[in-house]
Amino acid sequence: MQSTMTFRRYMVLVAVMLGASFGDTFLSKGMKQVGPVSIHHLSTLIVVLKAPWILAGIVLLIGFFASYLTALSWADLTFVLPATSFGYVIIPLLSHFWLHEYISPARWAGIFLITLGVGFVTQGPSYTSHAHPIPTDDAAALTSSSENARERSA
């Protein structure tokens, strides 16, 4: 395995961690303002898309997914997945230090274990190099087509 992590790539992992947890929190806050949606009035779900918290939540979740895909393009699944779980830690910590909510000892143990797992895996290599790499037909096609276009324009 080789380590290909740079500062920018760690920032992408941070975006993965924060995007999902803040996105879900914003959606939750927006839906609480809207109230329960009846199954007979599902069109309300379209109307709520205009709510600022819902919009912000959707933008953050799109950002999360883009960061997640970017991370998977240069890191292993078993490297990226623990990072996504860090969202489980961020929300209880925010609720404790910002909203002064009580966190039980079991939850502190959970926070400790997830932090330990994430810290442990990020210290190691991020990507598995294969002796016989998986063919990257799509990337090769794209690269060659853009090079051909540049040659034609030149």
Binding site: M1, L69, T70, L72, S73, W74, D76, L77, T78, F79, V80, L81, P82, S85, Y88, V89, P92, S104, A106, R107, A109, G110, I111, F112, L113, I114, L116, G117, V118, F120, V121, Q123, G124, P125, T128, H130, I134, P135, T136, D137, D138, A139, L142, T143, S145, S146, E147
Partner: protein
Amino acid sequence: MTNTTPTSVWLMIGMIVALATAGDVLIAGAMRRIGDFDEIRTHAGLGGAVAAVLTNARFFMGVGCMALSFFTLLFALSWADVSLVAPASAALTFVTNAFAAKWILKENVDRRRWFAALCVCVGVFFLAR
């Protein structure tokens, strides 16, 4: 909460976990096949990177599996307690993903990664208590 049997609840949890794992593995496989985004952006621009993802059938199969997993979760939540279904499915998905990454994606899941997957799995379970 309901008169659902434990077997059927665990069957639903198993379906959620299987579909989520399939989705993660298919998307990770698609991204590995597409290649490093940074390199593609250098050669073909951001539009080229987006086009590479949106023309990949494996990616859409992965998204489809994740969507099915999400709807199975919603269905399971209407039959069983969220305090069981949510943590159990999230925690088990970490373990099945580690196995799938090792055997299907051929990732080098060393002791460090097994330990991390186990820590996160138990941590999620504790956090949901």
